[in-house]
């Protein structure tokens, strides 16, 4: 039988930690692995490292956090310590949407790096920013995804941007009425991709640049009414002003707590998961209808 093995090497499934998250978080986060569903064990996702000539080391979570960044002036709340074992680790994908030039990139920078970026030209080579936090002995990794400028001409954002999303941050510029009016289009765009405003995917609304004086400012009342109608929490802030830094931080923590509570603590079984998915689909279908009946405002 010695020659038998040639055609059939052993499957390589068990070589990397199995993901314990619910199915949403199985996007490959490391370049050298691909997420593959092992068809033999139904749909348990397994991460398979891809053998290359020089596999880069996988950085431990502590290295990914921004706490060690020399120029970061802000203390980062709930930062994880490197030498602890957490009872659970979860990764959340949060997307930021809104018109061009409302400050989406700066917002994600402020969230994750604790400061305003020194160079504001288009960011090159940044897919998403990540920040790790610990709540109740659980390591939470929040990935803030940027539009990569594909929002400049509408409809150009790729579909996968909206997939497996755990929260949506809508951003407008309080000094730019158009960016506020276009929010309803962004909500529509999200709904087209199945992101409706149910409690499963929290949505928050941020009015940026509130420190800038402007005669035609979008009023807080108006924004609040819009936020209420769309089941969102409204925050007005300035990502740039240093005085608002604590405010931005608290917005982030609000989001973090929403995320932390948005998922059950135990790992769902396959049946539970399917049933839940089914319920959600029905819910979504109903909600979509409602939204269409109402039309959109502004």
């Amino acid at each position: 039988m010695s020659e038998h093995h040639v055609n059939i090497p052993a499957p390589q499934f068990s070589t990397y930690a199995t993901v314990i998250d619910p199915p949403k978080q199985v996007t490959a986060t490391h370049p050298d692995e691909m997420v593959i569903y092992n068809i033999m064990n139904s749909s348990t996702p397994v991460r398979v490292p891809y053998p290359t000539s020089a596999p880069p080391a996988i950085p431990p979570p502590a290295l990914i956090t921004r706490t060690s960044e020399p120029s970061a002036p802000k203390k980062m709340a709930l930062a994880p310590s490197s030498n602890r074992n957490y009872k659970q680790k979860r990764t959340f994908k949060v997307i930021i949407v809104g018109n061009a030039a409302v400050g989406k990139t700066c917002l994600s920078f402020r969230f994750c790096c604790g400061r305003f970026p020194e160079h504001t030209e288009a960011t090159i080579g940044v897919d998403f920013r990540e920040r790790s936090c610990v709540i109740e002995n659980e390591l939470l990794r929040v990935q803030l995804w940027d539009t990569a400028g594909q929002e400049r001409y509408r409809q150009s954002i790729v579909a996968h941007y909206y997939r497996n999303v755990n929260a949506v941050v809508f951003v407008y510029d309080v000094t730019c009425r158009e960016s506020f009016n276009d929010l309803s289009l962004w909500i529509k765009e999200c709904e087209k991709h199945g992101l409706v405003g149910d409690s499963e995917v929290p949505r928050i609304l941020i009015g940026n640049k509130c420190d800038v004086e402007c005669a035609t400012k979008v009023s807080t009342d108006e924004a609040q009414m819009f936020a209420d109608r769309n089941n969102m929490a409204l925050f007005e802030t300035s990502v740039k002003a240093a005085s608002e830094a604590d405010h931005v931080e608290s917005i982030f923590l609000t989001l973090l707590h929403k995320l932390q509570q948005s998922k059950p603590m135990h790992v769902q079984s396959q049946d539970e998961r399917q049933q839940k998915e089914q319920e959600r689909l029905i819910l979504k279908a109903n909600q979509t209808e409602n939204v269409e009946e109402e039309g959109f405002c502004c």
């Binding site: 092992n38 068809i39 996968h160």
Partner: protein
Amino acid sequence: MDEEYDAIVLGTGLKECIISGMLSVSGKKVLHIDRNNYYGGESASLTPLEQLYEKFHGAGAKPQPEMGRGRDWNVDLIPKFLMANGPLVKLLIHTGVTRYLEFKSIEASFVVKGGKIYKVPADEMEALATSLMGMFEKRRFKKFLVWVQQFDEAKEDTWQGLDPHNDTMQKVYEKFGLDENTADFTGHALALYRDDEHKNQPFAPAVEKIRLYSDSLARYGKSPYLYPLYGLGELPQGFARLSAIYGGTYMLDKPVDEIVIENGKAIGVKCGEEIVRGKQIYCDPSYAKERVKKTGQVVRAICLLNHPIPNTNDAQSCQIIIPQKQVGRHYDIYISCCSNTNMVTPKGWYLAMVSTTVETSNPEAEVLPGLQLLGPIAEKFIQISDVYEPTDMGAESQIFVSRSYDATTHFETTCKDVLDLFQRGTTKEFDFTNITHLSLNDNE
């Protein structure tokens, strides 16, 4: 849009998106335009289902209500799978585009012999149990596979008396005493040749292809193929994002009137009244019709089924190959099938695609042997596409046109074309070390 771009890419098909990504990563300023309001061009996955109906049956055409929610459908226009160990998977991993996509293995691969569907053996047990070949033939076949695994063109002692430069594949089959059936199976279901041309060629490329098959099979399980959740249209979008995060500018739904030429060299593209300037143009054949020639046609039948394909053990996804000889043709017929498990249909629905290279004046009849294997078909869309290749290689004009997608079931030729385009356009090979976004660190 007043600025000048280093490259303007027209069309967001897979090849154009990979090129766009590679150019942006290499520091080029890229503008990427598509006349459609969706990504993917020829290689798109249409969604919702209404979009497919409108494309084939005109505006206002509607699917039947029992077909479920339109948004649950993602219908590929071109059927292809990724070889798990093939060049596209390597490209996906090296560029980090895998972080946007999820893949599933295709469950099984089948081959038709004498009108019956046989599973292509995926492991030792199946190889011993298969009725595809007789007892003694199996032993000879195994010997052949062992030789394939250890063959190295650079080492003469692995050749076992066969000369890769002169001896044909036919001679290899004869040396191992393989009968015509096995040769047929090997050449078409493992090496994935579409015709019998390879039998009369030196054998080294064929041996490489068989090895790619078995290496891919070894990688993830029961078949050598991978397929992205939500359809192949995810692939161009993944590379489009790669391009965008390296500064590429994206415009969909933008009609392009013509490529503007000055002194025999492209200087930009005309969109309505405005001209966007660019030093180079990369595009698919539909944007440069006068610089390509037609080399053939491919017929593809998209079939909506409300059941798995019969005799496939209820496979949720599979490939079936009908070797040309079995149906008296010159080219093989391919069937691919995906379903809810791949996120391309609602529960209970299946998408089967039958395709082949056109060789008669009645292409629709040519896919019939494939359609007959599918059982009842709820809806069928036939498309016949012309296959083009560039006549202008772009050295003078700086217009670089990709080839149309051929009838092969995987992306090997696609990757070859892309790397060729990149090399022609930049006179350099692509440098993967330019990719920095994988480190998770901001560059600031």
